[in-house]
């Protein structure tokens, strides 16, 4: 098969991978913030629920979670198509890791900031959203960037539940054409580029968010 044709088939797969990342990333962010906050501030019974979710998804492997959602949940009457199962599994998995990022970043805000907010009579909502969160957010960006790259890498797992993503197409093409070296080399490079673009994006975001927080010495 000519090289150009292989590339175009693989790029179509890359679009599917992109789509999964675009859907799972917001889900992961919502889970990370939602359960991260519950883990920190919720009353006891709800807090324990959050801990169970976090420990369960961090303690077992992503592929098992994916299989569980795709193969087992239909028996309970929740049938998903492969795409939904993939997005949900990856979103919940990465989200669980994200809760720890949120927790760590909130803890990294100096205690004096909290005390000052109390002393200045800010309400607890104002304290969270106007004082603590803007500072914590900057600290979350680098680890969230790493998690986003982990998510891109984890999307390759959905090929095992028959979603025609980049990895799936690579394997199918390799079985068909036997031009394995070129195909897998191209795929590895595509994933690498994707990860690099994300890494650069998050670095830019970090710079944007840290503006005005008096970080990194006096202005450039």
């Amino acid at each position: 098969m000519p090289f150009g044709e292989i590339i175009s088939i693989l790029l179509e797969g890359a679009l599917v991978t992109l789509k999964i990342v675009a859907l799972a990333l917001p889900l992961a962010a919502v889970m990370a913030f939602g359960f991260g906050m519950l883990r920190l501030y919720a009353p006891k019974p709800i807090k324990y629920l959050a801990i169970i979710y976090i420990e369960f998804f961090r303690g077992t492997s992503a592929l098992i979670q994916l299989y569980w959602i795709y193969f087992v949940l239909p028996f309970f009457g929740f049938s998903f198509d492969a795409m939904t199962a993939g997005v949900v599994a990856l979103g919940l998995n990465i989200g669980a890791y994200g809760t720890e990022v949120v927790r760590g970043a909130m803890a990294s805000v100096p205690k004096g900031q909290y005390e000052a907010a109390v002393a200045l009579n800010f309400s607890s909502t104002q304290r969270l959203w106007r004082i603590l969160m803007p500072q914590a957010l900057v600290n979350m960006i680098p680890p969230f960037g790493n998690l986003a790259i982990e998510l891109v890498k984890a999307t390759s797992l959905v090929s095992l539940i028959t979603i025609a993503d980049l990895t799936y197409r690579a394997k199918a093409l390799a079985d068909m054409t036997l031009q394995v070296t070129e195909i897998f080399a191209v795929v590895l490079v595509l994933y690498f580029l994707f990860a690099q673009v994300l890494a650069i994006g998050f670095r830019v975001l970090e710079k944007k968010l840290s503006r005005g927080l008096g970080r990194g010495g006096l202005g450039q």
Partner: protein, 225 residues
């Protein structure tokens, strides 16, 4: 199809088969982590090389391996290596892939561990006229070891949790066996849940083990003689 009820009898029926497969999973993790430590240390030392070219090539190799999916790397080793005349069993391929992938991660841990050793120790070794090899072996690595333990342990647990991906190259580890059992009996609930619980159990035990190792480990490091 009634899969809602948990069937204990079926659970106990499949338990021995899955536990048998757990041995393969643990073996792959064990060999993989040995290889990862060797690879990680080599990369970490190469990153400290005096030659700019060696440093930057190592940096990009580590970056590349870290930011591409393990599954694709497994496929790459399994399908591409035979093109170059190297055929490996699924287990060997898996161990190699896990070792390389996590070796890249560990190299960063080892690098920061080595960087964490005080500058005075290096200067003292220089003053005592120790060779580079002896400096690393007797002075730097023994002190760098303790701070590396938690992160290294976490990556080994992470590696353990990624072994199910080896099912994609037909290695009969826990998840693959569970899937086969599931498709034979049309019951996925028990085998998959059992595997999930076993993973959770093993990771918790391993996490506790690492915690103990770290606590027991002498603060001043150990001699590597």
């Amino acid at each position: 199809m009634n899969g809602f009820d948990w069937d204990w009898q079926f659970t106990f029926e499949v338990m021995p088969t899955i536990l048998e497969a757990a041995k393969v999973t643990l073996l792959a993790t064990l060999l993989g982590s040995c290889l990862a430590i060797v690879v990680g240390l080599s990369f970490a030392l190469l990153r400290r090389s005096g030659f700019f070219l060696v440093r930057s090539i190592t940096y990009w190799i580590v970056e590349f391996v870290r930011s591409t999916p393990l599954l694709v790397q497994i496929f790459f080793l399994y399908y591409v290596m035979p093109e170059f005349g190297i055929s490996m069993s699924p287990l060997l391929t898996g161990v190699l892939a896990l070792g390389l992938h996590y070796g890249a991660y560990l190299s960063e841990v080892f690098r920061s561990g080595i960087d964490g050793v005080e500058k005075g120790q290096w200067e003292a070794s220089r003053a005592l006229n120790l060779s580079v090899f002896d400096t690393y072996k007797d002075i730097v690595l023994p002190q760098a070891l303790r701070p590396m333990i938690p992160a290294t342990g976490n990556y080994i647990i992470a590696m353990f949790k990624e072994t199910p991906q080896l099912s994609a190259i037909t290695l009969l580890e826990m998840l693959q066996v569970a899937k086969i059992i599931g498709s034979e009996n049309f019951r996925y609930l028990e085998p998959f849940t059992l595997v999930g619980v076993l993973y959770l159990l093993f990771s918790l035990i391993a996490a506790y083990g690492i915690h103990c190792v770290e606590r027991r480990f002498p603060k001043e490091g150990i001699t590597l003689k």
